[in-house]
């Protein structure tokens, strides 16, 4: 299996080549949570999560709501 490196929330991570956003979320145990996925500064909408494939060097941000003023 070919491995590629991506960044998730600023940390490097190795994932199998061809991993989709949905697979990454399942790997991280975050599937089904209320969060927003941003891939290379573009928001990935929920309907695209299964289909969008990650590439080596991709920068993924996973964000949610926290307390703030």
């Amino acid at each position: 299996m070919k491995i590629m490196q991506i960044q998730v929330n600023g940390k490097e991570r190795d994932v199998p080549a061809g991993t989709s956003v949905a697979t990454l979320l399942r790997e991280l145990g975050l599937d089904g949570r209320m969060l927003v996925v941003e891939l290379n500064r573009r928001i990935v909408r929920p309907p695209e999560i299964e289909s969008v494939q990650l590439e080596a060097g991709d920068r993924v941000e996973l964000v949610h709501f926290v307390g703030g003023g």
Partner: protein, 258 residues
């Protein structure tokens, strides 16, 4: 008390509260309920991947009970703030945003040029934009022109608790804008909230004054009463100020001294 109306939506409470810096999620929820606020601000931040429940505000606050108003706190340019607003919209399925573009880390005063620019862009994208700004009329007017749904001048710097430093500027802004004016930041205690509402503004947004009180739930209740008291006093119209005393009791009919 007439409800607060922003962008065609009505809110029973004129108090909007933040959700940061509470001692615990339970105290936060009790305090927000005690404040009577319908709308609460939230921030958008990275999920802690090792511990995703940590800091997840939706574990405590139900969007069915409160309207969530995402902020763009900690953004220092229009570009960063626009990105944060889009993330907030995607997270919350609402077009409302409390827009903050900070110009300086020590005072957290707004970067007004970037703020006006970000307002323009976000309004064009269909956002309902509520910008946090300074107590400056010209900036407030330009934000209104740019399409802000309400303008939110500060009472004093964020988290300072110094109260309403320039009531004159707040009154001037209120008198010249057509959109609602919500004073955001600086209130320290209930008397500040009351005095702010007495200027005639439409509402107050506060966080630290409640969250950092020794008893946040009790302070939240006090703020609810203070906002209502200040609003009602404003609507009632205060008596004129006079330099000299005017007796309250009749001068006639006083029994003469023996």
């Amino acid at each position: 008390m007439a409800p607060l109306e922003i962008a065609g939506r009505t809110f029973a409470s004129r108090l909007i509260v933040g959700t940061g810096k509470y001692p615990s999620p339970e105290i936060m929820l009790d305090a927000i309920r005690a404040s009577g606020a319908d709308m609460v601000t939230v921030a958008v931040r990275r999920v802690d991947i090792e511990n995703p429940d940590r800091d997840d505000i939706l574990r405590t606050l139900s969007p069915d009970e409160f309207s969530l108003l995402p902020n763009t706190a900690a953004c220092y340019s229009a570009e960063e703030a626009i990105r944060a607003a889009r993330l907030g919209r995607a997270a919350g399925m609402s077009d409302w945003v409390k827009l903050e573009v900070i110009g300086d880390p020590d005072t957290l005063l707004p970067h007004t040029e970037e703020l006006i620019e970000a307002t323009r862009v976000l309004v064009a994208e269909g956002f309902v934009v509520l910008p946090y700004t300074n107590d400056d009329l010209i900036t407030a007017l330009r934000l209104e022109e740019a399409g802000a749904a309400a303008v939110m001048p500060l009472a004093s710097p964020i988290g300072s608790g110094l109260g309403l430093l320039n009531p004159l500027n707040i009154r001037i802004i209120k008198s010249r804008l057509s959109v609602p004016v919500i004073v955001d930041a600086g209130v320290g205690t209930a008397s500040d909230a009351c005095a702010t509402m007495e200027q005639g503004v439409d509402g107050i947004l506060m966080n630290t004054a409640i969250a950092a009180a020794e008893d946040p739930v009790e302070m939240a209740g006090a703020m609810r009463l203070a906002v209502e008291a200040g609003r009602r006093a404003y609507v009632a119209g205060r008596m004129p100020r006079r330099e000299w005393a005017v007796p309250s009791s009749p001068l006639e009919g006083v029994p003469p001294p023996a």
